[in-house]
Symmetry: C2
Subunit: 156 residues, 2 copies
Amino acid sequence: MTSINIVCIGKLKEKYWRDAEAEYRKRLGAFCRLRIIEKKESALPGGAPAALIEKARDEESRAILESSGGALIVLSPDGDKMTSEAFAALIKKYADKGDMTFAVGGSYGLSDNIKENAAAVVSFSDVTMPHQLFRIVLIEQVYRAFMIINGRTYHK
Amino acid sequence: MTSINIVCIGKLKEKYWRDAEAEYRKRLGAFCRLRIIEKKESALPGGAPAALIEKARDEESRAILESSGGALIVLSPDGDKMTSEAFAALIKKYADKGDMTFAVGGSYGLSDNIKENAAAVVSFSDVTMPHQLFRIVLIEQVYRAFMIINGRTYHK
């Protein structure tokens, strides 16, 4: 069974996000060994100068990279747009070879360095979402991918 | 204050989706009069023939159209991709003129007829999401749009 890591920044603060994640986590148990690794969120005040934001982004990205294992798939707004079917094909390609890590940035995004280390950089949307909601969108897409890979019916 | 309707198919079955929606609904109270109108979901068995699916899609679309008021914005995978800023500009354009309705289809999508009646057809993503999760993504984007329109800071 493939090991899949989702490495992200900070904890899910709201119970409804935690419960939604727990549901997909449970369902994914049928398909992979899933670990969700939460790295420390940099605590910057609102309106922090650009240099501090860049430093926070670099530190968070380095922490994510250190916790990554196997093929690294970075989720980033400037990544390649794809359908759920293409995302499933990407997961199948790397899952056949071994383990994988999905990296999701925090409020400040991810550094170029982590993107250069990635096997793929993927974007689901042009709109900006809170990174906590994005985590739910990602885990649902990973679950959907395994349903597609296994030829199972799954409602829209 | 602009009245905004979100017309969609079926109820949110999971408590975590209802709680997430309730949170954004509360926050949106500062910006608009929001009504969420849930139309009846067609109950088709899995593997129903295409003609039955088309009939269900037409019936659901007609029910949504009947509950729409003001400018109609249809959310559909084949709509125009846009950023959160462009979506905010779209909302501002129509909110300045009066009321608006956002239409979200169910499992079977929406008919061409409702798209032809729309002021705009918008897509947030190439990936397929459960329509219940998509409702949360939409209400968060509507909230984000009002934060952008009002020049307020809002975390990613």
